[in-house]
Assembly symmetry: C2
Homo-oligomer: 370 residues x 2
């Protein structure tokens, strides 16, 4: 194998594919990046769950394949001067030259690198990268980390004529984002569940630009394509929560508040709460005012946040982290909180326009003195 | 105790004094900050080695003292809105109010807080903060962490009519910085050794401004004063290395190079070296060229850096980290390297002007094949 390419482009490609490389594995090849110099130069990282492949513009003089340890390979290329990098390998020994620098390092047999699954085309959709990125990041936090219900360790992608809906749920809260898409192919409606770990990488691969990203659903896998980069993940199998039935929509109390002001108030009261000293937030929805308080062995804290609307004095308890996660994710300066009783969920929605997000947080029981 | 003050000023004072607070101590008061409301509001942190005291402008309505846990106190004040904070304590319970936020937390008995040592005035000097900060940061890295020679776990401050010289040494290398000072009081010449841990805090307290900092040497302690903040540390006792005799000054080889280019070359070759796979740098000083190479189980690396001057082909081994530390600290774009043989130290100096820095790195033995 012999090729040369620009240092900056190679560095970007290593950084992208490294995201799917196992940091520590019993199979040494899985700690590496597969380099394939053919008609183009392809770099692949694959941890058996998620695979990322990207193409680097390169001048290929001799075809070949090799696996290089991702960490060392990445560090060497990062520290090389901004110049053309030349690679030449014989057996598993690779010579890397750039400017006045030269390295000889040992690679691994590419035969030991597992093959990326192929995604048999079923259905697909196209939407701007920036939109996909935002939708993922604003729902990913509610994905469950409880492996006893594997289906909820991923997010549901639901596609219909209205667009794409992404839903995450973990038993204590629910996050939903809805947006229109540019194009849809295949079935009238389709849905699939993507593991949270893969979505976390898709989010990083997408940029804040309007260039398109495509999502292709295969029989057992799903593929995301963003520019020259492709990510493949297995789909999660099982029955996802029938979320529409789970969300109460005839709530009797509607109040509106400033997202950042709500967050600041909750954040301050939360100072008294720690992993060791847990306590729910006691929220009282008064007329145009939310009173938040809590009490632990450290002391007590009280805060107020102005709202518009009358909560009728409803008292309800919340896990501070769950409420903050939802408010942090909500892509709006103002939000509407819908409530009914002290034992029914709180639903967080936009105050106006299309209902493009919905967060639901279940209440926790308040004990006297908390 | 009852007082009110500006949130931002209080936050800055907590952040400064927290540096001298023990993160974990068997005496709970040592994990706290002492608040003393008298004619002014004083905050003190003291971990029995280093003490930091600072003054906060405050409106004091009732005098008193209290100790508050530094971590919680700091987090509460940091998250309060930008407004006037009101404190009111009764026994050890303190009520903190700011805007619509209110906290009640428990403090500790101030009687349990150890008294800061008083520094009996002997000698003192004054120099700009920015200069003191730079001198400390450019020598601190060479302080020894070997407790078997406690005197070398600090830096030597030597004051004479020429100014201030700070020297650190750890048995493998030496760092020296010299600068003029604004004012000197007391003895004609004097010297003392300040613990590295205290200097690390002094460096952070000093800003990049020309406002003066004063250093006062007491019989057993040393005091740094920077604006409204004062740091007290015990002095290290013992015999510091007679460093002037240790530095070879009649070196036969003089070469000059670009500091950043030298650093980049060494940094790249060092990629092959890790904590587990140690190997010295093999440096060959040729005519106008430094060749650097090394070899470990990972592979081998080679780099070149242009120099001006002839090294006559001298081959010498160095610990990569020690050479990089010195070059990173050197406050100059170009440096002069002085060498004599493969077993004598390398001295790093300015290429021109006053000799305001000197770094010395001892060589390491090269084995065949390294």
């Amino acid at each position: 194998m012999k090729f040369s390419c620009e240092k900056a482009l190679l560095q970007a490609a290593i950084s992208t594919t490294s995201r799917a490389v196992s940091p520590k594995s019993s199979i040494p090849a899985l700690e590496g990046i597969l380099l394939e110099a053919g008609s183009d130069l392809r770099l692949t990282g694959y941890n058996l769950e998620t695979g990322i492949r990207t193409i680097v513009p390169a001048d290929i003089r001799e075809e070949g394949t090799l696996v290089l340890g991702a960490r060392l390979f990445g560090e060497i290329v990062r520290k090389l001067p901004d110049d053309i990098v030349t690679f030449q390998s014989e057996n598993y020994m690779v010579n890397i030259k750039c400017g006045m620098s030269e390295f000889n390092i040992l690679g691994t047999d590419p035969e030991e690198f597992p093959e990326l699954p192929t995604v048999e085309y079923q259905n697909s959709l196209i939407l701007p990268q920036s939109r996909l990125k935002a939708m993922i990041s604003q729902t990913l936090f509610a994905v469950s980390d409880n492996e006893s219900r594997p289906i909820h360790t991923g997010s549901l992608f639901e596609v219909d004529s209205e667009g794409l809906t992404i839903v995450s749920v973990d038993g204590y809260r629910l996050a939903l984002r809805h947006e229109s898409i540019d194009k849809k192919e295949g079935a009238e409606t389709f849905s699939f569940v993507v593991p949270g770990a893969a979505l976390s990488e898709v989010e990083k691969i997408c940029s804040d630009v309007d260039e398109p990203a495509s999502v292709t659903q295969g029989a057992r896998h799903v593929m995301f394509k963003v520019g020259d980069t492709m990510l493949v993940s297995r789909r999660l199998e099982g029955e996802f929560l029938a979320y529409r039935q789970a969300i109460p929509r005839n709530n009797t109390i509607h109040v509106e508040g400033d997202t950042r002001a709500l967050l600041s108030s909750i954040d301050r009261v939360s100072l008294i709460i720690s992993d060791k000293l847990k306590s729910p937030l006691r929220c009282v929805f008064d007329s145009n005012l939310l009173k938040i308080s809590t009490k632990t062995a450290i002391g007590d804290a009280y805060d107020e946040c102005p709202l518009s609307g009358d909560g009728g004095g409803l008292e309800i308890g919340f896990n501070n982290k769950y409420l903050m996660d939802a408010l942090k994710a909500a892509p709006a300066d103002k939000v509407r909180l819908e409530l009914t009783t002290g034992v029914s969920p709180c639903v967080i929605l936009p105050t106006e326009g299309e209902e493009n997000f919905l967060y639901m947080v279940l209440p926790v029981r308040l004990k006297a003195g908390e």
